[in-house]
């Protein structure tokens, strides 16, 4: 068991609380860096995919998990980023300019989508973002001269200073770099006054307001940052899939993104990464067990949604902190061994609060 003896205030906001963390994160980083040597190209593509979704996930976690704003339109931000990147790169704009433009454009759309958040909250906000998402999807499908409409848009591979990040290890490293950067940015935001303001808004808008937090500004900011992350991820997604069409960014996709952060564990950056890994790994796991299932099950197209839905329900019912919560319990168990008690993480008895009174 480890005791952290704090002697300076700075220790509260240090990136790594103690040497053990430096070691484990360093090890993780090293494993990720040498991964291309060991794993097959297919697994590597999946890892790139995990990195891309991890970028969306940390962004969405900032919004949903830390600012408490429900967004059911995040796929639309990804779409904005992906199409911006696709169109610009096709027009000969360098990769980095494209990705910055994708982030900025998505952030601008995020600000617009965030506007209803100033007036409505909770479920209404979810519905408002859902409405925005549908409208953006429809705009992309109809703006055929720019986006290619439903026929789709081909995207060339990444070309950076004349060096092609076509596929395999080079693209993986690019995605990994972006994912690590995104995670670090979010962690740093959370350590700063901005992040504290976000968490204050999540916990109680009235208290935050009385502490001098400008609700309108911080809510919009949260939407903008979150959308910018989704935009960057969209840009990478465009290069990864190489083909964009509006039906890749539907409401269903948005809902899956929210599922990702809920299953990973709302309110933790770890959870965002776990959720992204889960979202990519689940179809693979299902494919792996399919040969052992009876025929009517393995051939059903609905197998994946069923498992997804079941996992979601079980997580919310039994493990509100998601995969991160499960990990936390395991870790605490070994940390405190043999003093772990059954009720240590018992959920506080909650009474239903009325949302109708604002």
């Amino acid at each position: 068991m480890r005791f952290i003896f704090k002697t300076r205030y700075e220790q509260d906001i240090e990136l790594f609380q103690h040497g053990g963390k430096v070691f484990w994160y360093g090890l993780l980083m090293a494993v990720l860096l040498v991964a291309p040597v060991f794993v097959s190209p297919y697994v590597l593509t999946q890892l790139s995919q995990v990195c891309i979704y991890a970028i969306v996930a940390v962004g969405l976690m900032l919004l949903a998990g830390f600012t408490g704003q429900l967004s059911l339109g995040h796929a639309a931000f990804m779409a904005v980023g992906a199409y911006t990147q696709g169109v610009l790169v096709t027009a000969g704009v360098p990769f980095f300019v494209g990705i910055v433009a994708a982030a900025l454009f998505a952030a601008a759309v995020g600000v617009i989508v965030g506007l209803p958040a100033l007036r409505v909250k909770g479920l209404y906000l979810g519905i408002a973002t859902l409405a925005f998402g549908t409208i953006i999807e429809e705009i992309i499908a109809r703006a055929e001269h720019v986006t290619g409409g439903n026929a789709g848009l081909m995207v060339p591979p990444v070309n950076l200073f004349g060096w092609r990040f076509a596929d395999g290890p080079s693209f993986y490293y690019l995605c990994l770099a972006f994912a690590v950067a995104a995670t670090l940015i979010v962690i740093n935001i959370l350590r700063s006054p901005t992040g504290r303001a976000f968490v204050a808004i999540r916990d109680s808008e009235i208290s935050a307001q009385s502490m001098g937090v400008n609700l309108a500004f911080y809510k919009t900011l949260s939407f903008a940052i979150s959308a910018a992350f989704a935009g960057v991820a969209g840009g990478l997604y465009a290069h990864n899939i190489r083909f964009l069409s509006p039906d890749q960014f539907t409401v269903v996709q948005s809902i899956e993104l929210v599922m990702m952060v809920v299953i990973g564990g709302l309110g933790s950056v770890h959870g965002a990464i776990y959720g992204a890994a889960f979202l990519i790994a689940l179809p693979q796991m299902i494919n792996a067990v399919k040969p052992f299932l009876p025929l009517f099950l393995s051939e059903a197209t609905g197998l994946q949604p069923t498992v997804f839905g079941a996992v979601l329900i079980l997580v919310v019912l039994f493990e509100p902190l998601g995969i991160y919560g499960a990990w936390l319990k395991t870790r605490t168990y070994f940390d405190l061994f043999p003093f772990y008690r059954q009720g240590m993480f018992r959920r506080q008895k909650a009474f239903q609060k009325s949302d109708r009174l604002k």
Partner: protein, 291 residues
């Protein structure tokens, strides 16, 4: 004439949206949760009706009853088993659970061997019949939808107005705690509300079947019913129907007079305007919190 024609078909479609929205509102009023799986309950109702009509060979009215009964039981169990344990958790948690239920329902339905991902058509006695009236051509399906919706609304209004259980439900939606103190079985009633709203969804499913066929993804229509509920104010039963009618008519008119693509986006544009201008909807109650 063209215009009136469009309005009538819009009204019929709007009744469907209204009925789904009614389900949202019933549940929201009673338990302050939004059931994102309302569309899937509609789909289950459709399939239950299909089973009753084709395999069991029931007449149309019995088909409706079977569908209502099946979904009511599912709605009841859904509340009892999945939702009650997490009452009091954050709105996101509850929304995610209903979404999860919707996913499971959609996935499980495709696993039933005879259903799969095919589309099925429900045999109805009035298929393809049309009425001509003063230059208008109105299909029997539309008339049935509108009539059944009116009857159902009347029945629900009477339930809430005149029966003991209805009045208890009203009390519960106003103040759960006070209702509990008055000896109203709040828990049992919220299960019952889920059953009623699922049954309403089943009726919508049976009514929708002649228009769109029955398939595993028909539940996505539920997404379009959100705008209806928001426009009506989310806490008003007549509001839900009015909202549904507005959405239906707007969609029908936009599909004809505006560019292609506006048909699907129009309801959402209306709801965004509504949320920005009047977040409480047309009939919503405005309550202020005392600090």
């Amino acid at each position: 004439m063209q215009f009136v024609q469009l309005v009538i078909s819009g009204l019929a479609q709007g009744c469907i949206y209204g009925l789904i929205a009614l389900g949202f509102v019933l549940i929201y009023k009673a338990t302050e949760t939004v059931n994102f799986a309302q569309g899937e309950l509609l789909m289950i109702g459709g399939f239950a009706g299909l089973f009753a009509a084709t395999t069991l060979g029931f007449p149309y009215w019995a088909v409706i009853l079977v569908a209502m009964a099946v979904t009511a039981v599912i709605g009841f169990l859904n509340e009892r088993i999945i939702l009650r344990p997490i009452l009091g958790q954050s709105a996101v948690a509850i929304v995610m659970v209903t979404i999860g239920f919707g996913y499971m329902a959609r996935g499980l339905v495709t696993m039933i061997p005879v259903i799969g991902t095919d589309t099925h058509s429900l045999p109805v006695p009035f298929r393809g019949e049309v009425f001509r009236f003063a230059g208008l051509v109105i299909s029997a399906e539309h008339i049935v939808i509108i009539t059944v919706t009116i009857l159902l609304c009347g029945a629900l209004a009477a339930l809430f107005r005149y029966t003991k259980i209805g009045i208890a439900m009203q009390a519960m939606s106003q103040n759960q705690l006070a209702a509990y103190y008055m000896g109203i079985p709040v828990k049992r009633l919220s299960s019952l509300i889920w059953a009623i709203s699922a049954a309403v969804a089943a009726i919508a499913g049976i009514l929708l079947a002649p228009l769109t066929f029955i398939h595993a993804n028909m539940g996505f229509i539920g997404i379009k019913a959100f705008p209806a509920a928001v426009i009506g104010g989310f806490t008003s039963l007549p509001g839900a129907i009015v909202g549904g009618l507005i959405i239906g008519v707007v969609e029908s008119l936009a599909g004809f007079y505006l560019m292609e693509g506006f048909k699907d986006a129009a309801p959402f544009m209306v709801v965004l305007a509504m949320l920005v201008l009047k977040p409480n909807g047309l009939f919503g109650e405005r309550l202020a919190k005392k600090v």
